[in-house]
């Protein structure tokens, strides 16, 4: 009887063990394929929400953020009068047209007058001097002569 019971016990043990082995054999490749399957499912969502919140704050608060001396939204360099320029000069047209141009005080004043006469630009009052000073200080005219050297050549083997 004892022998029979022992046999039953050991055979049950073998069955359990082999069951475990089969489970393990199944689990190992499964784990390799889906390493995070058994982790708490809610965890990534928590992280995500935090990330979203970061992003939201960043976008809402820092529309006028400055990185490495550049106003990210417009590309203007940091300087006295920057925000006056941003607020008055980039609602109808792009900052790109300003950044392409180089003028002296007379040139910018004439351009502002032209925009007021023909393009519906509002009166700038005391801001006009601030704007023009910002532009001539940060984007001064450079003499290019009659023909410049070729620059920015991207050399390559033909």
């Amino acid at each position: 009887m004892l022998k029979e019971e022992d046999l039953k016990k050991s055979s049950r043990l073998i069955r359990i063990l082999s069951g475990l082995v089969i489970l393990l054999l199944f689990f190992i490749p499964f784990h390799l394929m889906f390493p995070h399957f058994f982790e708490l499912k809610s965890a990534p969502e928590v992280v995500l929400t935090a990330l979203v919140k970061d992003k939201i704050t960043e976008i809402e608060v820092d529309e006028d953020r400055i990185e490495n001396g550049i106003h990210i939204k417009t590309g203007f360099v940091e300087g006295e009068g920057l925000m006056v320029v941003v607020n008055n000069c980039t609602s109808c047209h792009s900052s790109k047209i300003i950044l392409q141009n180089r003028m002296n005080t007379d040139g910018w004043n004439a351009t502002i007058k032209w925009m007021q006469e023909t393009q519906n630009l509002w009166g700038l009052g005391v801001n006009q001097e601030i704007i023009v000073n910002y532009l001539v200080t940060n984007y001064p005219v450079k003499n290019k002569g009659r023909r410049e050297n070729l620059s920015g050549i991207d050399w390559y083997e033909l």
Partner: protein, 406 residues
């Protein structure tokens, strides 16, 4: 169009809401989400432009090619520069699109649907050179105001449409007609509906030329939206601003057209040579008509390095406004000596012409290959930037590329 407006507004005020809405589907796309959404305003995708095109301005769109992108004999859309003065029209309904001919000098004001224009008048196809009056502006000193085009504001596509003269004659031209002026569906940057971003035109002599057409097609397909769909005036050899996009009205005028960008310094140059930076009186300015002789080396791209003893093949295009290019030369010694190269005849009047040459270099070193075209009246391109003018038009100085021989 509507979708893009939505995204634009969203970026200004409530991008967060937009992200918030998307995040419900919880994915790792978050990092990529912002650029993905903004792709809606990516001009390269919206207008199928080559990735090497240069965006000079994004409101309004002004995009230029680089010389090597213009190598094809017929310019593909991907390499065609964009010069807009206002905002691209929204929600175009071709079924309702009409063209009206009016003005002081029209016999009877007439309105045509697109179908009527296409069925009533004979169709023609021409390859036509359109160059922005301000191409090359970036080289003027002191600098001239406006988009700082370098060399790429020129193209020569194939345009299909009907002759403007056939339509004008159908409506009737009075004997006192001197000019036509176009009106179009683009809108002013300020949002003011009473203002036109641009309304230019040309004298009757140009309007009545065989090659001045009202085009429906470009390179065999519907004109791309950014280039004037569904109807564009194409007047080859003149500043490209004469070739109005999104056309819905043409006025036959009994005086020089006085629309937006016809007066002041716009598309006008001094009628006598002036010193750089000089103030020029309004009455001393004249409207630009035919564009000057010019050429472009489109192969190889500037910056080629080659082994000593190897021949360098170059090629490119030359054009001469209303005239023809009769001579093409190149120099590898900064103009000390010039060597003739072959130049083909144009496929039709006002199309650019192709040149090519094989160059051998005497020794190793840094070279520049300069190209110089001469027109049928014996006028050549200058090596230096030509006469300064207040808005920096008509820079037809020789194009050059850098080459190193090792």
């Amino acid at each position: 169009m509507k979708r893009r407006d939505f995204v634009k507004k969203a970026t200004l005020s409530s991008f967060a809401t937009l992200i918030g809405a998307e995040i419900v589907f919880g994915s790792n796309l978050l990092e990529n989400y912002v650029p993905l959404a903004l792709d809606e305003s990516d001009p390269f995708k919206m207008y199928n432009k080559h990735k090497d095109m240069v965006v000079l301005n994004d409101k309004p769109w002004n995009i230029e090619a680089k010389a090597h992108l213009l190598d094809s004999k017929v310019t593909p859309n991907s390499a065609m520069f964009v010069r807009n003065n206002g905002l691209v029209p929204n929600n175009i309904d071709v079924k309702k699109w009409t063209l009206t001919i009016d003005g002081e000098s029209v016999v009877s004001k007439k309105t045509y649907t697109l179908t009527e224009l296409k069925s009533k008048f004979k169709e023609y196809t021409y390859q036509l050179t359109l160059e922005c009056g301000g191409n090359g502006r970036s080289e003027f000193s002191p600098p001239a105001k406006g988009n700082q085009w370098t060399v790429g504001a020129v193209h020569c596509a194939s345009w299909t449409g009907i002759r403007l003269k056939d339509v004008l004659e159908d409506a009737g031209i009075k004997s006192d007609a001197v000019y036509i002026g176009f009106h179009a569906a683009d809108s002013h940057l300020s949002g003011d509906p009473k203002k036109e971003p641009i309304s230019r035109g040309c004298p009757m002599t140009k309007a009545l030329q065989d090659e001045t057409i009202l085009a429906f097609k470009m390179n065999g397909e519907d004109i791309p939206l950014i280039h004037g769909y569904p109807l564009r005036l194409v007047a080859g050899g003149w500043p490209a601003s004469v070739s109005g996009k999104w056309l819905n009205r043409i006025s036959i005028r009994n005086k020089v057209h006085d629309g937006t960008k016809m007066t002041g310094t716009a598309y006008r140059v001094p009628n006598h040579p002036v010193a750089p930076g000089e103030k020029v009186k309004d009455e001393d300015m004249r409207i630009i008509e035919s564009m000057p002789i010019k050429s472009l080396i489109t192969y190889p791209k500037s910056g080629a390095m080659l082994k000593k003893g190897k021949l360098l093949s170059i090629r490119g295009h030359a054009w001469a406004g209303e005239l023809e290019v009769v001579k093409m030369e190149y120099s590898i010694d900064f103009g000390a000596t010039w060597i003739d190269c072959t130049v083909e005849k144009p496929v039709n009047r006002l199309a650019w012409q192709h040149f090519e040459a094989k160059i051998s270099f005497p020794k190793k070193g840094y070279y520049e290959v300069w190209a110089k075209a001469t027109d049928s009246e014996g006028v050549s391109q200058p090596m230096l930037v030509p006469g300064w003018n207040p808005k920096g038009y008509l820079n037809n100085a020789c194009h050059r590329i850098a080459v190193k021989v090792n």
